[in-house]
């Protein structure tokens, strides 16, 4: 089996603001294999979106990728020139964003926008690209795609717009699709449809998918592997089933525990994670999670734990679990 499709090695992206340097992504490494579905989970500020934007080289000043390599197809994306990167964006690696209501340009027809990547990367004519767009729109489940393609975005509902966005990402049959919170802004019923669509796309087109979300339920339904981020670092990763069944990092553990359960007793209080997410300019010493961690030991406040193998299939950045302690049932 050939090597991974996408390899991120020790990626560090920082924002240089008047208040200080924000270490948004602080040494993130992971791999994505062809056709795989990977979920990146974390709170706001965990660095998950910035990681994706860094891969796409869409970070603008005052932010900058300061270190690390992003290996794709034998090339380091972090070192490519802007015009070389433009050849990859939207062609080999596509990205769709959170808010479909504002992510489409209001003054151009949907069909034209969806077909634009073909005009840009395959040199297709406007008419040909439009026709291709119509067929992709059909594939993502938009009814009467021929007519709808001639409409403007404001005629589309939220769910349909997100489908159109997905179509836009797929026209060039990219190898990687990055979806940044694709369902967060949608109604719950539509969410399920969109996730189903992403699953179908992954199955039928073989597109490797990175799904970024703060919602554990979304990951559970969709991703083979999951990566948990906190304060700009990866704290745990592994097959989704394993991570959910027995988490090997206190943060994941706390997250799973905080989800309200249908079978809990009525009087049982909810179990939130104590404390607040850290200030990315002024991170805590040692492990960034230690102030909020119910299992923290003295070493946690001194040294930053590396991401190491814990158990058979998982990686975790935790002194406690690396030393053999198993976390109680979540």
């Amino acid at each position: 089996m050939p090597g991974p499709l996408l390899g991120v090695h020790d990626l560090k992206t920082q924002f240089f603001t008047p208040e200080g340097v924000v270490k948004a992504v602080d040494g993130v490494s992971f791999e994505l294999n062809a056709g795989e579905t990977l979920g990146i989970v974390g709170e706001s500020g965990s660095g998950k979106s910035v990681t994706a934007m860094s891969i796409m080289r869409l970070i603008s000043p005052p932010g900058r990728i300061v270190e690390g390599r992003v290996l794709y197809d034998g090339r380091d994306l972090a070192k490519l020139s802007e015009s070389e990167m433009q050849g990859i964006r939207g062609e080999s690696i596509a990205m769709i964003f959170q808010d479909p209501m504002t992510s489409l340009n209001p003054v151009f027809k949907v069909g034209w926008q969806v077909g634009e990547p073909l005009m840009l990367h395959r040199g297709e004519s406007k008419a040909k690209a439009f026709a291709s767009a119509v067929s992709v729109l059909a594939k993502v489940g938009i009814p009467s795609p021929g007519d709808r393609a001639r409409d403007y975005p404001h005629h589309f509902s939220g769910g349909m717009r997100q489908r159109a966005m997905i179509a836009m990402g797929l026209t060039t049959t990219p190898k990687v699709l990055i979806a940044d919170e694709p369902t967060t802004a949608l109604d719950v019923t539509i969410q399920a449809q969109i996730l189903e669509l992403l699953r179908t796309v992954n199955r039928e087109f073989g597109t490797a998918t990175i799904l970024i979300t703060h919602n554990l339920g979304v990951v559970a339904g969709m991703c083979e592997r999951v990566m948990v981020m906190y304060a700009g670092k990866v704290v745990e990763s592994g097959p989704t089933e394993d991570v959910f069944a027995h988490p090997t990092h206190p943060y994941t553990w706390s997250l799973l525990r905080s989800i309200p359960r249908l079978d809990a007793e009525r009087h049982e209080p909810l179990k939130p994670i104590e404390g607040l997410p850290p200030d990315l300019i002024d991170l805590p010493s040692g492990c960034a999670f230690h102030p909020r961690c119910p299992f923290a030991i003295e070493k946690c406040s001194r040294d930053v734990p590396p991401l190491n193998r814990v158990g058979d299939s998982q990686l975790a950045a935790c002194w406690v679990t690396q030393s053999g302690t198993e976390l109680p049932h979540a």
């Binding site: 796409m56 869409l58 802007e82 015009s83 990167m85 433009q86 050849g87 990859i88 964006r89 939207g90 062609e91 596509a94 990205m95 964003f97 808010d99 504002t102 992510s103 489409l104 340009n105 209001p106 003054v107 151009f108 634009e116 990547p117 840009l120 990367h121 409409d151 403007y152 404001h154 005629h155 966005m165 836009m168």
Partner: protein
């Protein structure tokens, strides 16, 4: 879109009526039942005066006179001069082309220069160039138009001529005797007044384009465009600019009133034979009826101009066009 346009047209009707009422009322306050040329005739007996007034309908009740007035306006009759009885509409017809020539050129100049200036400021936000452009805008807005015109004339017409260099004409639409056919001659006459007229609008519009552009560049759909892998040039000039100019169109439309008449000062300074200069000349002669006739006409032009801007806006913004 049709519904939107129709509603805009209907909304202007009360304004049109209002304008005619206001001018009618002011006319009566100013001149009452004055008849032009009447006091030039020393032999006129009081009964004759009454007879003439009755003939002209000046003894009719006010509402009836108003209806006559508005009836006239609808047919393009804006009254007669108090000085020589000439038709205001004829004067307007004579002078309108010159005003339009000037103001349309000024608008075009303003838009054509504002957009690149604004886009540059937005793209190079915070740079020295941006600060310089902003300073020029703020400064330009503070310069009195008539003074700028005066200074330009004094340098480009008077001083250059005194130094024996080629110079620009200090006024008028064309060199007398050329009959208006010589394009170069007309352009040479047009340069200074059009520049002065567009100057203030340049200052406002370039800053506005800049902030509109900055707003658009921060939008999600611009991020989407970049993610599709297109050149930054395409992102800016195709995806962003198309959205950024929409509010500018509204702004240009809103400024139409000041262009129809803001040209007055420029016309006077440059002896440009337009409607503004006409109004000024007649005002000095206290020819109230002509002044009012021109004002009514100009107000209606403004209303029409606003309507046009609404149409243009609806056309450019697909959210309204295909509502």
């Amino acid at each position: 879109m049709l519904k939107y346009l129709l509603s805009r047209v209907v909304a202007t009707i009360p304004v049109v009526i209002g304008v005619t009422v206001v001018t009618f009322v002011v006319m009566h306050i100013a001149a009452g039942s004055y008849v032009p040329g009447l006091d030039l005739n020393p032999n006129l007996k009081p009964e004759d005066e009454e007879a003439i007034k009755r003939y002209l309908g000046l003894d009719r009740p006010w509402p009836e006179q108003y209806l006559t007035w508005i009836g006239g306006v609808i047919h393009g009759d804006f009254g007669r001069s108090m000085i020589d009885g000439s038709l205001v509409s004829r004067h307007i017809g004579d002078r309108l082309p010159a005003t339009l020539e000037l103001t349309v050129t000024a608008i075009l100049l303003g838009v054509l220069i504002s957009i690149p200036l604004g886009v540059t400021g937005a793209l190079r936000r915070g740079s020295k160039l941006d600060h310089a452009l902003t300073a020029m805008s703020v400064g330009g807005f503070a310069i009195p138009g008539f003074w700028l015109g005066l200074m330009l004339i004094l340098f480009f017409s008077v001083q250059l001529q005194a130094w024996g260099l080629p110079f620009l004409p200090s006024g008028g639409v064309m060199t007398p005797g050329t009959g208006g056919g010589d394009l170069l001659d007309r352009i040479v006459h047009l340069i200074m007044p059009a520049t002065v007229l567009s100057f203030v609008y340049l200052s406002i519009w370039s800053r506005f384009t800049r902030s509109s552009m900055l707003e658009v560049l921060a939008q999600d759909y611009v991020r989407t465009a970049r993610a599709k892998g297109m050149s930054e040039r395409r992102v800016v000039y195709l995806h962003a600019l198309r959205n950024a100019v929409i509010p500018l169109v509204t702004l240009v439309g809103l400024e139409l009133p000041s262009l129809v008449a803001g040209g007055l000062i420029v016309e006077v300074v440059f002896s440009w034979p337009g409607i503004g200069k006409l109004l000024y000349e007649r005002a000095i002669q206290t020819d109230y009826s002509t002044v009012l006739g021109i004002t009514t006409f100009a107000a209606l032009l403004v209303v029409a101009g606003n309507l046009l801007a609404d149409f243009l806006y609806a056309f450019l913004d697909p959210r309204i066009r295909y509502a």
